[in-house]
């Protein structure tokens, strides 16, 4: 596969605060990638750096083997930023035409209008008088104006109602079929799971997971094997069991945290440990994810 985005050991420091801490990844052509993580994890900063709007403090970023700020790159990317701003005093159709004039290769005006789903009447309105959801739709059309190969969406569905959200993901689906590369940030696990083929999980400026949604889910969920000990069992002994990552005691029960419950179970039996009432808990993904989010909120 042809890699079109390369990040190499990228860090970004804002006034002593490290927003992004030594991340590396590459994205291939045609991939749909979700950058998932709680607020403040460095998702937006990373996206801004890929777009060339921020310079990394360390490391290098390349798009199409070029620096993000090159014209060559800009003609091939489109983006929808978190804060959708609209130029004042211009009608919707004028804004669309203006953006089409920037690119050497463009989608036709009609195609762009189709994407927004605006009516003739709405096209004649001043862009700054549109509602929040309509501005997003316009923003999406503007991102598409240059028929880009790579699309960046920063928190694309925040503040959208259910219908607009659905419309948005339908559009993304269509782009996927056209072979576009799409990168979006989100803090909704569900969205990442539904849409992306690959999830890059951010936490406190670092990448803590990178893989298919399924991999990420496995990584996030804590599976446990729990039991009541009939005799005293030493912690060290339990931690030495194969595949046990961690353990804790709650209400007199021992919980072994693992990714391979079967192996742990087998070990418990074969070692003939004095345990009873064994239970396996697959763990709930949402709980684990929420925990990850909350940890951040408290900090």
């Amino acid at each position: 596969m042809e890699s079109i985005i390369e990040l190499n050991n990228v860090s970004k420091v804002f006034k002593n605060k490290k927003a992004v801490d030594g991340i590396s990844f590459s994205i291939d052509k045609g991939e749909i990638v979700a950058i998932l993580g709680p607020n403040g994890a460095g998702k937006t900063t990373t996206m801004m750096m890929m777009l060339g709007l921020l310079d990394p403090s360390e490391g290098s970023i390349q798009l199409f083997n070029n620096k993000p700020k090159e014209r060559f790159v800009r003609e091939r990317i489109g983006a929808m930023l978190q804060e959708v701003s609209v130029i004042d005093a211009l009608k919707v159709k004028e804004v669309i035409q203006l953006f089409r004039s920037y690119y050497p290769r463009t989608l036709s005006f009609e195609e762009l209008v189709d994407i927004t789903g605006f009516t003739q009447d709405e096209l004649k309105r001043r862009a700054n008088k549109l509602s929040g959801g309509q501005k997003r739709r316009l923003g999406f059309a503007l991102a598409m104006a240059g028929d880009p190969d790579v699309l960046f969406f920063d928190e694309p569905t925040v503040g959208l109602d259910v219908t607009s959200r659905k419309l948005f993901w339908n559009n993304v689906e269509m782009l996927k079929q056209r072979g576009k590369t799409i990168i979006f940030t989100t803090h909704y696990l569900q969205e990442a799971d539904d849409v992306a083929e690959r999830v890059i999980l951010f936490h406190e400026g670092k990448i803590i997971g990178d893989g298919t949604p399924k991999d990420i889910k496995n990584k996030l969920t804590k599976q446990t094997v729990s039991f009541d000990a009939t005799t005293m069992i030493r912690y060290e002994e339990l931690l030495k069991l194969p595949c046990v990552n961690n353990m804790y005691e709650k209400d007199g029960r021992m919980y072994l945290v693992t990714e391979q419950t079967d192996d742990v179970l087998r070990a418990l039996i074969t070692k003939n440990l004095q345990v009873k009432n064994i239970e396996i808990d697959r763990g709930r993904l949402e709980d684990a994810f929420e925990q990850l989010m909350e940890k951040r909120e408290v900090v």
Partner: protein
């Protein structure tokens, strides 16, 4: 395209229409038709004041419309969005300048026409043309002030400061009333302001003279000063990010 859009945006801005077209014409009427008794040479005063008002208008749109718009675009994240497009910063900037100049030409034509209609100000075609060109040339340092205003962080501060700046420049530069009738110290300050030299060039032309070389020197001097200053601030801001 970008130029055309900039022009459209300014024309649709009510502040522009009010401050740069309506107010100068109102002032013009007030000062030439209502308080016009004590002057010896009416014709000359009317032409003189017409130039003052055109200069006032151009100066206003250069400082305020441009400056405030730049701040707005930045605070609303628009200029950031523009940086993702293939349109280069330079092209964007030049489009803005060209747009402003087109607007200035438009203002000048409107106000000149108003002058000709209201007071029958008659100059030779050459004089009209030269005045117009002078006003366009003289607008450059004010555009630079506009970009300086444009580096401010908040729209409120920018509009407050640019308003004050504008009024002080207009008053002390002798645009509302001739500098000669002001107190001495005001005259001394006024003679160093870009607005005085801006007006003064056009005032010379309507009297059949050419603008003084000090007008050129000072305007160009201010242009260089403000361009350097706003360039410096811009760079400093970029580093801060």
């Amino acid at each position: 395209m970008q130029c055309k859009i900039e022009v459209l945006r300014i024309l649709r801005n009510p502040y522009y229409v009010f401050w740069s077209l309506f107010m100068p014409i109102v002032f013009y009427v007030v000062f030439t038709r209502i308080f016009n008794s004590a002057l010896e040479d009416q014709q000359e005063w009317q032409a003189h004041y017409l130039m003052s008002m055109s200069a006032f208008s151009v100066m206003g749109s250069a400082i305020m419309t441009l400056g405030i718009r730049l701040v707005e675009e930045r605070t609303q994240g628009w200029s950031m969005f523009m940086r993702i497009t293939p349109l280069s910063d330079t092209a964007y900037f030049f489009a803005k300048m060209v747009g402003q100049t087109v607007i200035h030409t438009f203002s000048i034509v409107v106000i000149f026409t108003a002058g000709a209609l209201i007071n029958g100000v008659s100059l030779t075609a050459f004089e009209w043309l030269m005045c117009g060109l002078w006003l366009l040339f003289g607008s450059l340092p004010f555009l630079a002030i506009g970009t300086l205003v444009g580096t401010m962080k908040r729209v409120d501060t920018a509009s407050g400061i640019s308003n004050m700046f504008y009024m002080v420049l207009a008053l002390l530069g002798g645009m509302w009333m001739p500098l000669e009738i002001m107190p001495d110290f005001v005259q001394t300050i006024g003679k160093w302001l870009p607005s005085y030299h801006f007006g003064s060039g056009a005032w010379s032309i309507v009297r059949g003279n050419t603008p003084d070389w000090t007008n050129f020197i000072l305007l160009i001097g201010y242009l260089v000063l403000f361009v350097l200053l706003s360039g410096y601030i811009r760079r400093k801001q970029e580093v801060a990010v």
